[in-house]
Symmetry: D2
Subunit: 340 residues, 4 copies
Amino acid sequence: MRGNSFGNFFVLTSFGESHGPALGAVIDGCPAGVPLTEEHINAALRRRRPGQSIITSTRLEEDIPEILSGVFEGRTLGTPIAVIVRNHDTRSEDYSPQVYRAGHADRVWQDKYVNRDHRGGGRSSGRETIARVIGGAVAEQLLPDSVQIVAFARQIGHVSLKETPGQITRANVDSYPTRCPDSMADAAITEELLRLREQGDSVGGIIELRIDGVPSGLGEPVFNKAKSLLTSGIMTIGAVAGVSLGEAFTECLLAGSAFHTAVANAPEGITTRSYGIQGGITSGQRIVMRVAIKPTSTTGDLARQGRHDPCIVPRVIPVIESMAALVLADLFLASRLDNL
Amino acid sequence: MRGNSFGNFFVLTSFGESHGPALGAVIDGCPAGVPLTEEHINAALRRRRPGQSIITSTRLEEDIPEILSGVFEGRTLGTPIAVIVRNHDTRSEDYSPQVYRAGHADRVWQDKYVNRDHRGGGRSSGRETIARVIGGAVAEQLLPDSVQIVAFARQIGHVSLKETPGQITRANVDSYPTRCPDSMADAAITEELLRLREQGDSVGGIIELRIDGVPSGLGEPVFNKAKSLLTSGIMTIGAVAGVSLGEAFTECLLAGSAFHTAVANAPEGITTRSYGIQGGITSGQRIVMRVAIKPTSTTGDLARQGRHDPCIVPRVIPVIESMAALVLADLFLASRLDNL
Amino acid sequence: MRGNSFGNFFVLTSFGESHGPALGAVIDGCPAGVPLTEEHINAALRRRRPGQSIITSTRLEEDIPEILSGVFEGRTLGTPIAVIVRNHDTRSEDYSPQVYRAGHADRVWQDKYVNRDHRGGGRSSGRETIARVIGGAVAEQLLPDSVQIVAFARQIGHVSLKETPGQITRANVDSYPTRCPDSMADAAITEELLRLREQGDSVGGIIELRIDGVPSGLGEPVFNKAKSLLTSGIMTIGAVAGVSLGEAFTECLLAGSAFHTAVANAPEGITTRSYGIQGGITSGQRIVMRVAIKPTSTTGDLARQGRHDPCIVPRVIPVIESMAALVLADLFLASRLDNL
Amino acid sequence: MRGNSFGNFFVLTSFGESHGPALGAVIDGCPAGVPLTEEHINAALRRRRPGQSIITSTRLEEDIPEILSGVFEGRTLGTPIAVIVRNHDTRSEDYSPQVYRAGHADRVWQDKYVNRDHRGGGRSSGRETIARVIGGAVAEQLLPDSVQIVAFARQIGHVSLKETPGQITRANVDSYPTRCPDSMADAAITEELLRLREQGDSVGGIIELRIDGVPSGLGEPVFNKAKSLLTSGIMTIGAVAGVSLGEAFTECLLAGSAFHTAVANAPEGITTRSYGIQGGITSGQRIVMRVAIKPTSTTGDLARQGRHDPCIVPRVIPVIESMAALVLADLFLASRLDNL
């Protein structure tokens, strides 16, 4: 296996199995002098933790980060930042090496590597996203304060968000258990999820990601386009099955004259449905992406016992934000090398 | 700028501006002994070339590849394979440094790099995809013969494909100018495109990518998932605005019990809507992806003159296939390192 | 800072400051199925540990490795192998932020990163080599059993080794505190080091590295030559000031006809003073390298107190062996990609 | 094969076989705005070209560079800079696939890759260094004007340089055919080389590399130390068999109190025999390295015919300078990422 590192300049290396001693992350490439404490990381991890409401898994995972290196007197040293989180709730008796769960990597993994940690998905467990949230927390400390990264549930099952002004802030989104920031939609989704759990079923949804305050000029014109790195980062999350700029799958059927409308007050050539990324490079406008999230693959009895979320959308949201922060931190550093 | 290389093991480096002396590619990491001649590359380049029908741009670009290194007596040496294509039709008078074209990178590029080759988009021109097609042609020579990569126009504007058995082969798709492999749909799209050109307008569409015969076990469980690398590769193409496994943006709203249906005769745990990729690893089933393509950004007088395709979908298809081939070649080599 | 990872296929990432909570290593790219336990790593760490004889530093560093991930039931999973070692003897009162020690990185580090962990050298402490020894221990488990990597003290100060047959095995070398595997030389060196410590002085030396049983065909002809990767790896060690194939600095003054002598019974074209590496590629013959080690930079009162070794040669030996093992493991994996 | 790229930020990719259509280089990562023309590269290539004196090979290689991309109106665009040089004197009848030349990679290459371009060494020919000289020429344009990189022949066979003040400038070194910048030494070496050619023999030597005016703070403390990257770069050259800081193989036998002498007027802690690199980081002092060069491996009749230099030292000098420039350009860019 390879591919446990992400990024070119701000590099996250993720390690750990869900039922091994610990999971963790090493961030190499973070400049010296960035303010960072365990509380920054702790706050980020709390946002991804289940057990927060009646619609989330009953497994208790209290994830306490420990910074092992890279920070001195409250600021980064420029050296690798290693952070670990110990595993606690490791009821491995739930898992059998003989059972290949539907929609999981169990079977292909067994064939590929032969030696497999079958307990809870091992390395392909959702717990691996802890490393990404750690990395994202560090990345957000590096990014300029202007950058605001917020994801939210745009649709879960049949219920979609009616947007009203001022709704989409991280604090407001987090105040709803479904992370669909509207009281009526949140209630309707909660009801549906409780019903699905009773039936031992699940559902997916669509997340919207908005990024404001991004400096213009991030991204490179060919393989490291801002759009491809963001998409790539988000697509590394297990539950994600599709990513688009705006609502590309419907908007791309528009006539070009309607699609490429000039943005008022923006620099010449910037168009609305470029969604903040033109020719791969950020324009300073808002970035908007949509992300399709698969229904939870655990159905039937295990689902009825409530040990898995009937919908993973609320928990994936901070992971998507983390991947976006990692990509932007990477491009932010890269842009220092643009000119003589 | 960085990011002109793609791949971890089978590495394509792309270079060249649209109006400079030449474009080209260097492939490093191709094993020795792979059969390869200029004709393999020429055949691939012919498939991306415009000027093939009444609906494509009138610009004549005869792209003759020259292999400079890496091949000896009809087989690869294991050394870097360098291929160049000279630029010919370089009517730079069409372009002015003072004009920032809508929907193009002109303006953000100018701000980012200051020194900009404004002629025809320079490095951010669609001509850069020549390098990807060269790389894809080499990658296909490396991949096992079983691997069949075919993309086709699923929908352009309002016209979508009615699928019938046996339709989706590369030869059949190529026999339609629109690459929508159905006589009635092809005719309807052609009519619409001619009308749009007259109006100085354009349209986008949706491409479907199907890959059959992929060995199981390609892809890594975390950042190098087969789905994320394929998506990442496809999203590096300028015209692409969205990528999904199957039709994820609608399918993800299904109940989990409907979404995760077991595949008959497949290994235990393999489900239909994993579309050949389970937990990031190929399962040996067919891979299916959808790709949203923006309308051509050139509208108005320049579009009426026919110097740009009113719809880029037919020309993007071989580029998407090339990116898929590059990703699969990369993962194919990576899988040699799985076990002791 | 970057550059805390080493290797292209078998990748070691090192982290940790000498007086922070822990040091550690993540190895990504080790195939699945390699036998590995904490005892393998522990055995390697014991070989680098000071406090083993009267001539080594009096600081007690009991370095207990903990494997956090990547191993299941005694074999590697193919996932990242994370190993940490807690720091204990952290008498930071020995160190002052105002003092820039001669021959250390203190001053340049302060200027470069501004935020500096001054305690014991922080990241630039010799303790960082723990990560390399961990990585080397894993690499040796991956390499074929035939590969024998042994380094030894060829000369310390004025005393040099008189070689006799059968002397150069790792077990025999380790049985001498100076790692100069000859009773008389070992005694003479010990005497000199005790004298130097009394005087608050130090000395350097020359290490020889021999590698037997390397498969032929490892290494790539251009930038990843076996000789350049081995040299590069060894030169990343703080105390190293020079590396050569054999005794190149004297042998290169020979006539070509004397230098390039054919090796009896070896494949045609293999010559004696290529020392097992021909055109960058291993030939299957013994690899021989010489490494120049600087005198310990701590002199004067601190040296008299015995808190630093008067000669670092014995302690550097296992680190050199580890770097060699890492390079060979990397090239061993790379060679799987040579042919179709 | 892999390993045809060098550098982390300023990345040179080298391609081409000695008897194929062309050799070349792609430089990715050079910022926009650097002044660059073909004449800069041409001047550098002229310095490595043989046929300059009676002691060099009689093969005429007129190497004319063509810039294919990355430069616009005399300045770099920030895009990849591709440069090719056509091969002309390709007398492949000199070479037979059945003969494995002593001291060359012929045999190990044949075994490793099976498909081998036997003509003139193919990829492992000294002609590959053209790519490095191209890369070095671009790197020198990027580096601050203060940086002066000069290598010269310190010793060839039995004749060594008596140094006098002001001698070591690139222009002065180049004015001697042997690149040993002293009239008497140059004459003595020339005489010896003519004698060796008559005898069909060859000899090696020692090159000294001096770099002045390097900004302090370049290099990273662990694997990307300035000393290890410089050494690694130089060791990738075929003829090099050893590299040291200063004369490390003799100086390391000094007492520490003599070795680590403080440098007058330098920042506290900087010592003489650190030769401009302290803890892996440049201190702003002069960098001094020694490089051992093997005798030319072609001896006997082919040597008598004068088709190979009896001593490769003069021709390797610009290649060593180029590798040093590449490393410094890389570290120069890296240092932009040190701090918040």
